[in-house]
């Protein structure tokens, strides 16, 4: 009965495609559309389809048939790939946009943290921005007055509070922005990936604050790519894929499901055109593969053998400063390491500008590096501090088989993601008995 916070029933949201590429319609498009409309009407009538139904061709369901309930005080995680519809769901629940079908029932005030610092004005001082941003987030002036000192203390920018925020470092800016947002007190809090920013110290502080919010009995919807944050903060998690809710379970289970699902078993992954965002140009990913020492493309590789990871891609125009890298993560989302193809100084100099063309960047993971288990490779193509062209946090998964690995004489799992073959020395110091 009165314990429901959110009920979502058959929720769907349809977007016109082309909307993102062709940011806005021009008057001319509408005029020509209107003029050619009768012709289209006749054509579709002749082809036997109902001419009165709106054309579905250029439309895409970003969210479809999603139903779930959230109880008061529950902290619910939402995970899914980029473009799976998570953000669309949060936008509907926070009233930024309307659903196209179905409905959502919200019991209580919703506060949304879809992005911190929304409405910050760079010419205004920190103090002024606290009030402005607070008002935008729906706080009353008296409420901001009351929490002002707490907000400033949390942000750690006391001595710059009367300086325009355009003079702030990006870290200070973020801290201030998060500090305001963190002091919202709605009954339902909707959070999208805001914790993925800032330095480690600040992230820890943010996570602590999120934990407090949850303990105070608020309902929280938490979207993140950070599996360890999801595991720490939420009890239950939804998995969303291609606009549908595909799984709901206690968080540990849901994370396992998500991390294991959707990966090809062939040790290779090819990107299709619709998986590549328009703004990644001129970088165009083609494929990523894992090969064993004989060069065979395999999904399961032996820990005692070296493993080759290769990324095939095309540049549609010359690129300066490009670095293409991999992240290797465990199934729980912890990073094992990061490496870029121009880490080596000689290559860094030699590939300052890459010409247009078709490329393969590959590297070899030495034998006896990873422990048994399944790992995920994420890829990132960027120019340092200039632009990120392409990123896929879950490009490919592969399995490491520990057969023959050092220590295998004991049939027990080893802790940690690494399984190095270390050269132990055992020295007898003396007889020991005297």
């Amino acid at each position: 009965m009165g314990n429901l916070a959110i009920r979502v029933v058959d929720l769907g949201k349809q977007y016109r495609i082309g909307l993102t590429i062709n940011r806005y319609r021009t008057l001319r498009d509408t005029l020509t559309d209107t003029i050619t409309a009768p012709a289209r009407w006749f054509r579709s009538a002749r082809q036997g389809s109902n001419p009165w139904s709106r054309t579905q061709k250029n439309r895409i369901w970003a969210l479809k048939d999603v139903s779930f309930d959230v109880e008061r005080g529950q902290v619910l995680g939402i995970i899914g790939r980029n473009g799976a519809g998570k953000s669309t769901l949060l936008k509907i629940l926070s009233r930024v946009t309307e659903p196209s079908e179905g409905y959502a029932e919200i019991h209580g005030r919703v506060g949304s943290l879809l992005e911190v610092g929304t409405g910050f004005h760079h010419e205004l001082t920190g103090r002024e921005n606290i009030y402005l941003n607070g008002a935008i987030l729906g706080m009353k002036r008296s409420e901001i007055d009351r929490k002002y000192d707490e907000i400033v203390a949390f942000s750690e920018v006391e001595q710059f509070i009367d300086t325009p925020v355009k003079r702030y470092s990006s870290g200070m800016y973020l801290r201030l922005a998060f500090a305001v947002a963190a002091h919202l007190e709605p009954e339902i809090l909707v959070v999208d990936e805001v914790l993925a920013v800032g330095d480690a110290e600040f992230q820890r502080k943010c996570m602590g604050k999120m934990g407090d919010v949850a303990r105070e009995g608020r309902t929280v919807l938490f979207v993140s790519h950070n599996m360890s944050a999801i595991l720490r903060l939420t009890e239950e998690t939804l998995v969303i894929d291609k606009g549908h809710m595909v799984y709901r379970a206690p968080t540990a289970q849901a994370v396992d499901y998500y991390m294991a699902s959707g990966y090809s078993q062939e040790g290779a992954r090819t990107w299709t055109a619709d998986e590549i965002p328009a703004d990644s140009a001129p970088f165009r990913p083609i494929a990523i593969r894992t090969r064993d020492r004989q060069g065979r493309v395999l999904e399961t590789l032996r820990s005692v053998d070296p493993v080759t990871i290769e990324i095939e891609y095309a540049l549609d125009a010359p690129l300066t400063g490009l670095r293409l890298g991999i992240y290797v993560l465990t199934m729980r989302g912890e990073f094992v390491f990061t490496s870029f193809d121009t880490d080596d100084l000689e290559k860094f100099e030699g590939f300052r500008t890459r010409p247009a063309g078709h490329f393969v960047s590959s590297c070899v993971l030495p034998a006896n590096l990873l422990n048994e288990g399944r790992y995920i490779i994420g890829i990132n193509a960027s120019s340092f501090r200039i632009r990120r062209y392409f990123q896929d946090e879950h490009a490919l998964a592969f399995t490491v088989d520990g057969t023959g690995a050092p220590g295998k004489q004991w049939p027990e799992p080893r802790l940690g993601p690494m399984r190095p073959a270390l050269d132990w020395k055992i020295t007898k110091v003396d007889d020991g008995v005297n």
Binding site: V96, L114, T118, L132, E187
Partner: protein, 291 residues
């Protein structure tokens, strides 16, 4: 001290989010609930307007003043336009005040939604707040520029040797109503334009032209008496005609008090505002997706 901030069971009825169609409810109560946001956005616009300028708020005086100087040279000295028997500078300045308020409001508010794009795509609040705040923020400039008018009235009283005598009468109280009429018109036009601008950025290109055209059909540089009597009612369809005539009547004592023709202006302003509100509320549903 441990926080024991347990949330009380929620009082308001559940909010149902579902697709809406047809004519949207105006929900002007929302504006009242979000009045503090209107205040803060207005304050932001004012605060930011003259940041990093050398002359600061002096610009609020300088722009209409220079316009007046140019118009006086051009239309009074060269073109010898009559000015209802008051000195041309004060004649044009009294009209430039409400005109400046109106044109600035329309220019700013017309772009306001697009300028605040990041807020619209991230956070819910009644979207009406944005153009309303944008229109309101022009008021301060208006008041600053008004001080110059008072100075000019005193100047002419002193230097004309009794030929002119501008006084403050009870008629000046009606200025509030004329300002209100100008703001209503500005808001109505802005609602139409800002909502259209979300979908058709053509509006951004049309706006300067539209303002210019509107300037010429408003009696700023010339007297409304130039328009033949039988066409006055049609002329008053432009609500700014009512506003400018009202200003001149109240401040300079020119013409007879505004009569029935003023109601044409008021009627048109109300129609623009009400249709603007409905259009805006209807379009609001897709702002976040289209902008």
């Amino acid at each position: 001290m441990a926080k024991t901030n347990i949330i009380k069971p929620i009082l308001p009825p559940p909010l149902i989010l579902r697709p809406t169609r047809g004519l949207a409810a105006l929900n002007l109560r929302d504006l009242w609930i979000y009045r503090e946001l209107i205040y803060f956005l207005t304050w932001r616009d004012i605060k930011v307007r003259y940041k990093q300028t050398f002359l600061g708020a002096t610009w609020a005086i300088l722009v209409p003043f220079l316009q007046m100087v140019v118009f006086t040279l051009l239309f009074s000295r060269v073109a010898k336009l009559p000015s209802d028997n008051v000195p041309y500078p004060i004649f044009s300045y009294a009209a430039l005040l409400p005109w400046g308020l109106f044109s600035k409001a329309v220019a700013d508010a017309g772009h306001s939604l697009v300028m605040n794009r990041n807020m619209i795509t991230k956070i819910y609040f009644p979207r009406l707040v944005i153009p309303v705040a944008s229109v309101l923020s022009g008021l301060l400039d208006f008041f600053i520029a008004f001080l110059v008018l008072i100075g000019m009235m005193i100047y002419y009283n002193v230097t004309s040797g009794g030929k002119y005598h501008f006084t403050f009468t009870t008629a000046d109280l009606t200025l509030v109503l004329f300002v209100l009429l100008a703001m209503m018109t500005a808001l109505g036009v802005s609602l139409w334009l800002s909502a259209l601008n979300v979908i058709y950025r053509d509006i951004g290109h049309i706006l300067p032209f539209l303002t210019q055209l509107w300037f010429f059909i408003t009696p700023v540089v010339y007297s409304a008496k130039e328009v033949p009597a039988q066409w006055q009612w049609l002329y008053a369809v432009n609500p700014m005609v009512g506003v400018v005539n009202g200003f001149r009547w109240a401040l300079l004592g020119t013409k007879t008090p505004p009569g029935a023709i003023l109601w044409v202006s008021v009627g048109v302003a109300v129609v623009i505002l009400v249709t603007g509100l409905f259009y805006f509320r209807g379009m609001e549903r897709t702002f976040a997706d289209e902008i």
